[in-house]
Amino acid sequence: MQIYLPIAEVSVNAFLILGLGGLVGVLSGMFGVGGGFLLTPLLFFIGIPPAVAVGTQSTQIVASSVSGVMAHLKRKTVDLRMGLVLLSGGLVGSALGVQVFALMRTLGQVDLLVTLFYVVFLGIIGGLMFFESLSSMRKARRRGGVVAPRKKHLWVHTWPLKMKFRTSGLYISVIPPILVGLLVGILAAIMGVGGGFIMLPAMIYILGMPTKVVVGTSLFQIIFVAGFTTLMHATTNYSVDLPLAILLLVGSVIGAQLGTRIGVRMKAEQIRIALAVLVLAVCFKLLLDLLIQPNELYSIASAAP
């Protein structure tokens, strides 16, 4: 069934979009990430103009994050105070990211910027997660199934401006969470992603938050950053395509529920290793695109009508 998208001005197969949304939903349910880092390149691939893909994607992130955060609120695994601190950094970062995006757009280097961001961040995070999971799996095996406790004192604990985060059981400086929020906000605006794939490791490894509150808190603040990004894109670039967003989010909310069920059957290390492999695969593919000579050296960018 073909459907014409009024903002993207292209005609696409509705079931293809539903399927893409579903696929990304399964992954986000399994791993607790938004899946934007996969969906955005896939949308480019089926011919959605990049600006529309990035703008619409943020709408879909809002929907899937709301859906996810509801479940976490029930289980009281959302650190609202930490979420608000991260958010304050996130909104500033998002505004900064839009400026960088606009600047690079005039220089014609948006593609390069986005791809480089993907390669660098996916590479670092995928690599770290992969080796960390491998070593914790090896340790778990050696100690007969007991996972080593994470060390309690991290370097950020020595910074000033301390604040109590009761749900996370932390008493740390507010500077690192603001910086993490800022970084994720910039990424969200430039890459059209929620930033879960960088937020989650940062919360665990930099802030030292307990794993059980990480996903809910990340989702909570992503709702607002993605919502803000949606408004920015809608008002400055007119690049939010509502029919596309609705198709994507119908697919992804169904997929997310399936993914959650697959997720509970897997061990934490297995999930982390699978996610690491996925992240590294996407990173590798993008890196190849940069290094191998493309078939078509030329590209067309339409000026705004």
Partner: protein, 254 residues
């Protein structure tokens, strides 16, 4: 020698005055509505040659039909290798390139149209694109225009349909042009040329209005005229859908 000068001159005169041969044409539709399930559209163009006198014995009659979408400025960029990676390095602004362009002819374009006539009427695809100048740093600016044509031809946005027009008894002609699904809105100019001896003897012009309709129209207008309301509407739908999904699955599970 005299005849070689006279014949084109006479042809020109006849074209200027009430032409001996005139084109009368019609379209299967003069408006295209882009609705939610729009999947491209086929335009039928048909017509006849009206003449007071019998068919001249001179060169064969040919017909050319062009359909041209709204012109826009585009930027064509070229990648090259810098420090091992492929990045956009050169860019050329093309001042006005039609968003869609199709040329249908009775015979190969070179056989039915001379290059001077092409220049005058901007009929062939390269002539339909107006490119004024490239920055002085780029010597081969024409390769950018070629790339633009190559990329758009691959997407069926530019079509050269040589021999696609059927002409019967040098009088009746018809052809069809497929408009692809990824059309942009605007007025599409349709031109029909009659040529003899590679010179244009008569031309006819009309317009197809391509418009978004129904829900598409409403969403597009809202997004451009009330972007804040549109953005908020998107957010409300997103939050609502997310909430509804978790509520529905909670009920299903219990």
């Amino acid at each position: 020698m005299m005849r070689m000068v006279l014949i084109p001159l006479l042809l020109c005169l006849s074209a200027l005055s009430a032409a001996a041969e005139q084109v009368v044409a019609g379209l299967s539709q003069n408006r295209v509505s882009i609705t939610t399930n729009f999947d491209g559209s086929e335009i039928l163009i048909f017509g006849a040659v009206k003449r007071e006198s019998p068919v001249p014995d001179a060169a064969e009659l040919d017909v050319i039909v062009t359909i041209e979408g709204p012109k826009r400025q585009v930027t064509v960029r070229r990648k090259s290798r810098v420090a091992g990676i492929w990045i956009n390095t050169d860019a050329v602004e093309v001042d006005a390139a039609p968003s869609f362009y199709a040329v249908a002819t009775t015979d190969p374009l070179g056989d039915v149209l001379s290059s001077t006539e092409d220049l005058r009427h901007s009929i062939s695809i390269p002539r339909a694109i107006r490119s004024v100048g490239a920055p002085a740093t780029i010597a081969d600016s024409e390769t950018f225009t070629e790339a633009l044509i190559r990329i758009r031809e691959k997407d069926d946005l530019y079509q050269l349909l040589e021999g696609a027009i059927t002409l019967r008894e040098q009088t009746l002609f018809n052809t069809s042009v497929a408009l692809p699904a990824n059309l942009t809105e605007g007025n599409y100019r349709v031109r029909i040329f009659l040529t003899r001896d590679r010179g244009v003897i008569d031309a006819y012009e009309t317009v197809i209005g391509v418009r978004k309709a129904g829900l598409e129209r409403w969403l597009f207008s809202l997004a451009h005229e009330q972007p804040l309301i549109y953005g908020l509407l998107s957010l409300v739908i997103a939050v609502g859908a997310g909430w509804a999904a978790s509520a529905v699955f909670r009920i299903l599970r219990s």
